[in-house]
Amino acid sequence: MDQMSNVTHKYLRPKKSFPNVWCPGCGIGIAMGAMIRAIDGLGLDKNQVAVVSGIGCTARIPVYLDFNTLHTTHGRPLAFATGVKLANPKMKVIVVSGDGDLLAIGGNHFIHAARRNMDITCILVNNYIYGMTGGQYSPTTPFKKLSSTGPYGMIEQSFDPAELARTAGATFVARGTVFHASQLSRLMSQAINRHGFSFVEVISNCHTQYGRLNREGSAVKMIQWQKDHAVPVSVAAKKTPEELEDKFITGVLYEQEKPGYVEEYQKIIDRFSRESTESMVRVTES
C-alpha cells in the first residue's frame, strides 16, 4: 500500500488545493488514484498529458493533479478537449466527468466526440446523482430511486452510458468500479493507450446524497454493493439474462479498430506538405 501512495504523490500538486473537496468515503478519489497509476504505468511525460473536466464533484479532479489541467464550464469538457487535442496532437488528452456533466448538459458533445472518434480518453465517474448541487436526479438515476428533485421516485428511464458510447461510435468501451481499483487502473491504462475515442465508465458511490436519500447506507456498504453486483465479462457470457438482471458487467465491453480523427486529418495535412498550396488568386478566379 505504501508503494501505491508513493506513486500517486508524484502526480499530485503539493502546494495547493488540499484537503480535497470530496466527502470522506467518496469513490472519486479512488478513481483519481487509479487514473494516476494508469498514467504512471504507461510512463507518460507529465508535460504531455492534459486533464480536462467540466463542473461537478468529479470535475474537481484536475486541480489536484500535476499535469496540464483545464477545469471548464458545465458539460463542455469534451469540446474544450477537442481543441486541445487538435492544437497539440502529440498530447494525451483525458476528460474526467460525472454523469450529470457528461450525459445531461454535455450529452450532445459526448455522442459527437464518440462519433468523430476524436482521440480523447473519456472517464465517467457514475454515481447516479448530482452530488455537488445536493442530490438532484441525473440521466443515470435508476427508475424509482429517490432524489431531491424526484422526491416521489424517478419516473424517467436512465441511460446506460457504456451502451450509449458504443452506439455513438466509441472504439473502446470499458466499465469498472471503485471497489475493483486495480482492475480499474488496468482498464484506464488500456483506454489511454488507444487511438480514437476511448471510454471508461466507473461505477462509484455517493453515500452523502444518493445513499442517504435511498437508505443504501454508508460508503462501505455502497462499495460492498459494487462488489456484489459486478460481473466480469467472461463470467457474464455464461450467465442467463435473468441471472444478470440486477447486475452490471465489468471489463472491456467493446473494442474496434477504426482510424482516429487526428490520424485522418493528418493525412490531409501531409498531402499538402507534398503538394504545393493553391494560391489566393486561383480562388478568387474560380
Partner: protein, 392 residues
Amino acid sequence: MSEVETQNKRKQLYKSNTPLLMQGNEACAWGALAAGCMFFGGYPITPSTEIAEMLARYLPQIGGHFIQMEDEIASIASVIGASVAGAKSMTATSGPGFSLMQENLGYAYMAEVPCVVVNVQRGGPSTGLPTKVAQGEMMQAKWGTHGDYFPIVLVPSSVKECFDLTIRAFNLSEKFRSPVVVLSDEVLGHMREIVSLPPQDELEIITCTRPNEPPEWYRHFEITPDYLSPMASFGEGYRFHLTGLTHDEYGFPTSKQKEIVDKLEKLRLKTARHIDEIADVRLDLMDDAHIMVLAYGSTARAARQAIRIARKKRFKVGMVQPLTIWPFPDDIVGRLLEKVDLVIVPELNQGQIIGEVKRLCQRHIKIVGLNRFDGELITPAQIVDKIKEERP
C-alpha cells in the same frame, strides 16, 4: 508540419499587392491566416459561413486545423481549448450562435484565454432575419455574459477593414490575453470590393509574451505593473491549472477576499490602463464641425457620403467612426462632444450606441438617433434629410 514549413505554405497562399475582388467574409479569413490563425472551430450559420468554408479549405494546407463542431457552444469551447494548447484560434458566427457562445466567452475572459470571435450580424432577436443586415449586438458584445468583464470589440466598415481588424483582433487578443470580438454585418460580409493586401512582412503581428522564468516559479495569472501576464501553453512544461472559478495568480480556485478583488481588478485594469492603445477612432471633417454624425460598421459608409453631401449644402458637419467600439473611446468622443451642438447617431437597431453618447455628453445639446431595423441599410439621403430636419 514544422513552423518553417507552415510559414512557407502561408507565403505561397497569400498574394499581396495584387488587386483582388473579395467579400468581407473572405477578407476576415485572409486576415486570420495572415495573423497566424492555426485553429478554427465553427458551426454553419448565415451570414458568416464563408469564413468557415474558407478556413476549412486553407487551414490544413498550412498545417492548421479546422473542425465543424456540433453547435456554437462546442465551437467556442474548442477554440478556447486550442488556444490554451498554443494555437492562435478563432470562430465566426452570427446572432443566435453568438448568444450560445456567451457562457464560454465568459470563461475565456475569466481564464484570460486569447481568441477571436467574428460575429457577422443579422436581424434579431431570435432567428430574426438571417439574410438581412442589422447592428443589434453592440450591447450584447459588451454585456453578453454574466459578471463584470471588459471586452475588446472592433467594428469594421469595409472589406479592407474586415482584413485589417481581424489581424488587429488577433494582436489585441494576444497582447491582452482576452477574447476579441469583431462585429461585422451581413452587408459587409457579403459585399465585394477590390482590395490590395499589404505584403506579409509589413504586417504587424503580435504574439503574447512567453514566460522566461523556470516552471516552478511560473504564475499563469501573475499581476504585473501593467496587468499583462506572460502566457505559457499546454505542453511547454509549465503544467498550470485553468478554471472558470475565481482564482489566484497560479490559477487555483480561491475564496480569499483579497485574491478575489485582485483578480477582478486585473480584468478591468488590463484594458482600462491601455485604453489609448486599444481605442481607434476615425474622424472625418471634424475640425470645424458643429454637427457630429457618429456612425460605425456598414452605417459609417452611408454617413461618410452623407457628410460630404451635407457639406456642399453648407452644413458644418463631421463624422466620428469608432473602429474600436468597446471599450468605448470615452476621451476622444467626450472631447469632440464639447465642440458640437447637434449629434446624429444612425444605427441599424433601435438605439444602442446612442446611449453611450448621451452618457458622455455633459452639456445640454440635441442628440438624436436615426434608426432602421427593417433589414435594409440606412441611405446617405436619409442622414442628410435628418440633418436638414434637425437644422432647418
